[in-house]
Assembly symmetry: C2
Homo-oligomer: 334 residues x 2
């Protein structure tokens, strides 16, 4: 298997995952569509098993190992949250014990769910320390490390969410996804280039965790030196990967979003879609709004809603100020 991920890997992942993950619905808000002057479709992966798209990559990874007769006796992984739950859940499906390496700042609700699926959690002060510890643990006999994003099975698995959405939506002019390590964004881009080659593919990350943006400007991978402080905890990854970076370099546009905008859009998307949506994906709507205002009206955008696992502290921070008093109105009706 080549290290380059292409559309055939996503097709193969679709077959492997059939019946194992949910085909999540596409949702929209007529009011938001009117305000934006465009139709905005949301692929609701918050309604996915484990509450996030991450189960797609982790299950695809283990299904491929099973096909090759290479299932291990122990699984290890490192994650800021949703990947931890995904690996814990996927490992449990195969009856394999799992240990998750994470930071002390991990969302308590994501940690509780991970332990609820039967995995053991090890906490470290910083993400680089957790990443170093998992690399050592992965050397043990009969142990396999499931990386959070920088692997062809993970990228291909995450790409199935966009592939489903592009099969279900009639016509899409622009596709938006958040960027943490770049797994979802890379899979989305590869699926989009095949199924909707005319569509723009656009990424977004927190301004407080702008490693991908720095990397795109530098033309090489730049890593954050400290744990970023952002509501969008799913996008707090310190750096993109060697596999995801060249794919992310093919994006049509990329946005950095500040914390006020992240809270603003989380409030509005929760309110308009009636979904419990993570800041990590609501953030992407700031990019959609910028695109919407600069695009002739009447187009269709697809937004990848990555998950809905939110701690009480995050909910408190999201709802501290009242942004519902300022509706996101871009166009006025004739």
């Amino acid at each position: 298997m080549s290290e380059i991920v292409d559309f055939s890997d996503i097709s193969k992942a679709m077959e492997r995952l059939a019946g194992k993950v949910k085909r999540t619905p596409i949702m929209e808000s007529s009011l938001l569509n009117r305000w934006m002057g465009h139709r905005i479709l949301f692929k609701a992966e918050c309604l996915q098993t484990i509450g996030a798209f991450k189960i797609r990559g982790a299950l695809n990874f283990l299904c491929r190992l099973e096909e090759e007769g290479k299932l291990p006796k122990h699984i290890v992984a490192n994650s800021s949250g949703n990947h931890a739950q995904a690996v814990a859940y996927a490992a449990a499906q195969f009856g394999i014990p799992a240990t998750i390496y994470t930071t002390e700042s991990v969302s308590p609700i994501k940690a509780a769910a991970t332990e609820g699926y039967g995995a053991t959690i090890k906490r470290f002060a910083t993400r680089p320390e957790a990443d170093a510890a998992v690399a050592v643990a992965a050397q043990a006999e009969d142990t396999v490390w499931i990386p959070p994003f920088n692997h062809q099975d993970i990228i291909a698995g995450q790409g199935t969410a966009a592939l489903e959405a592009l099969e279900d939506a009639e016509q899409v002019d622009a596709i938006f996804a958040p960027c943490g390590g770049g797994g979802l964004l890379s899979g989305t881009l590869i699926a989009a280039r095949e199924k909707a080659p005319e569509a723009l593919v656009i990424g977004a990350e927190p301004a407080n965790a702008n490693d991908a943006s720095q990397s795109l400007q530098a033309g090489e991978i730049v890593a954050l030196s400290s744990t970023p402080n952002t509501l969008a905890d799913g996008a707090a990854t310190p750096a993109v990967g060697e596999l995801t970076f060249p794919i992310i370099q093919q994006l049509d546009d990329f946005y950095e979003v500040d914390e006020v905008q992240i809270a603003y859009w989380t409030q509005w998307l929760q309110h308009l879609l009636k979904l419990h949506i993570e800041p990590t994906c609501a953030m992407t709507m700031a990019a959609v709004a910028s695109w919407a205002i600069n695009t002739p009206p009447g187009q269709t955008a697809l937004v990848m809603i990555s998950g809905g696992n939110i701690s009480q502290l995050s909910m408190q921070a999201i709802w501290e100020h009242d942004y519902l008093l300022q509706p996101p109105i871009i166009t006025t009706e004739e």
Copy 2:
């Protein structure tokens, strides 16, 4: 037409509303099912048009007037929120101007949506004052008052939500709905007695707005003397109606729920179902948990999720404390 609502009225409403309202999905959480020892199904009316079941009654009312050639030139209504949006939206469908009489404590987000649908809002200090003002306004020529709950068309319309759910669910042993004025609860009971005659039908209201509970104990309608202070703003109605009360008297059980329990279950249902659920309906889960602990395991409950229109102040209050640290575990697995 008799003033007594029966199942044929709900059937007729189903026909009238076909294609005009959404057939909302039934959702469940495998984790919650495991914790409760029962299967808990949620009829997700937060995903309904206007974000609440109330559109069913208001549209049924106007469709019936249209059938009789009696559509008015002006519509008035009184409401603590969701009925206001429902009347505003339904009136707009028929191109009829609407005025809504409400209190100054109305949820700003519900008021904004009501105005967004084109209605005019008049605010009063207390609910009885708003109710008195709408009664005067309703006397004007060519004007029709759409009552919030105490009317056969409203009760029958709201009953279609339970009818849909009972058609979609295989087997239901107990059905739970919140009680404000009793429209949803009455419609649910009538639908349930026909489609699932063996099922228990159970209501719940805030302890801080316990007029229905007082009325059931007194055997006559008791009204609250002041505007109640509760997170469950959709159940803050001062009294049930002459039409809904005799139906509510047929309930199998009824619960009063305190404010901590209301916040607790709103957090947990938002987290587990990934839906933006109002405290008014999350409240009902406290009754489900009491039923669950006193019922031999393995049964199926249906919970009517009434809506998802929540102000920033309510969200702030709901998420002030961390209840996600205390999972609602009733049964431990063998």
